[in-house]
């Protein structure tokens, strides 16, 4: 039960963060060049991502669970550490934070400067929206497949990710502006913590370890990972110079 809740939460947070970034580009294209082509590009990319999840999911679930946990646990751990490492460096002020307003302004300028296609569909808008949603979505597909397969429930992870896509989409329709108030780095920090905890749990299980407390150890790993990550932020943050 705890594992399932963390699974849905992890997939939803990862999906939400990636979709906020893709939405910025789709919004800039829609505002500057019209909505038909970017919305069609977005829908096509979401279709491809859903098809990839549906096709690869059953294949992953056929792999013996111990081998799956070792290989996929290692991949999830490495992938999660990438998110967490960057989020810690950003929170400590060692890397610049992602600025949705600046990304939106930059994309808007580029979209306005590029000539309009004469055909029935704006090829530039369609391609850029498709590519952006597909690239951001591939990470989400990876997370949904790996977390879902290891926890034995890809549909549950997919529901979490799809719910986040709907929430971000609806918010973007109402706001019609980049979702810059979404605390992106904090969300990425949270996803990094969860992926790292899940990856540690499964990779160790796949390596032959028996966790004390079984699934409850996952919750302890989440708390422990969050604690040492926040400690690193504190240590790395530049100390104010006394006046």
């Amino acid at each position: 039960m705890t594992g399932d809740l963390l699974l849905v939460l992890g997939a939803a947070l990862a999906s939400g963060v990636e979709m906020v970034e893709a939405t910025t580009i789709v919004l800039a294209l829609g505002v500057s060049r019209g909505w038909r082509a970017p919305l069609l590009g977005t829908a096509t990319a979401l279709g491809v991502l859903a098809a990839a999840t549906a096709a690869l999911g059953p294949a992953l679930e056929r792999i013996p669970i111990d081998s799956l946990r070792l290989v996929v646990g290692t991949l999830v751990l490495l992938f999660g550490l990438q998110w967490l490492r960057k989020a810690i460096l950003r929170a400590a002020g060692k890397l610049p934070k992602h600025d949705e307003e600046a990304a939106f302004a930059e994309e808007l300028e580029r979209a306005r400067a590029t000539g309009q296609d004469k055909g029935p569909l704006d090829g530039y808008s369609f391609t850029l929206a498709f590519k952006s949603v597909l690239l951001e979505g591939l990470e989400v597909v990876f997370i949904v497949l790996t977390l879902g397969a290891n926890q034995g429930s890809i549909p549950l992870a997919a529901i979490g990710a799809a719910a986040a896509v709907v929430v971000v989409g609806v918010a973007a329709v109402f706001v019609r502006h980049p979702l810059s108030r979404v605390p992106e780095n904090a969300l990425k920090f949270g996803v990094g913590v969860m992926l790292t905890a899940f990856g540690t749990f499964w990779a160790a299980e796949g390596a032959g370890v028996h966790w004390p407390g079984e699934d409850a150890a996952l919750l302890a790993l989440v708390a422990l990972t969050a604690a040492w990550s926040l400690a690193f932020v504190r240590v790395l943050r530049p100390q104010p110079v006394p006046a």
């Binding site: 070792l70 751990l77 490495l78 490492r85 810690i88 160790a204 390596a207 032959g208 370890v209 790395l236």
Partner: protein, 62 residues
Amino acid sequence: MRRFVAAVVDFVVGDDVWVAVGIVAAIAATALAAHEGLDAWWLLGAAVPLVVGVSLFRAASA
């Protein structure tokens, strides 16, 4: 093909290859300890912050 492999490696390994090397070594050590009948559940959980910490301090001081 080479670009595809490079993209996959970048997708999995990311910015610091030594994090991947350290984590894979820690998982191998865990598997070895478990194979020898040792209760090694703590090993990977202890190795992860150690490996990440070294990587973070290297990145921060670069």
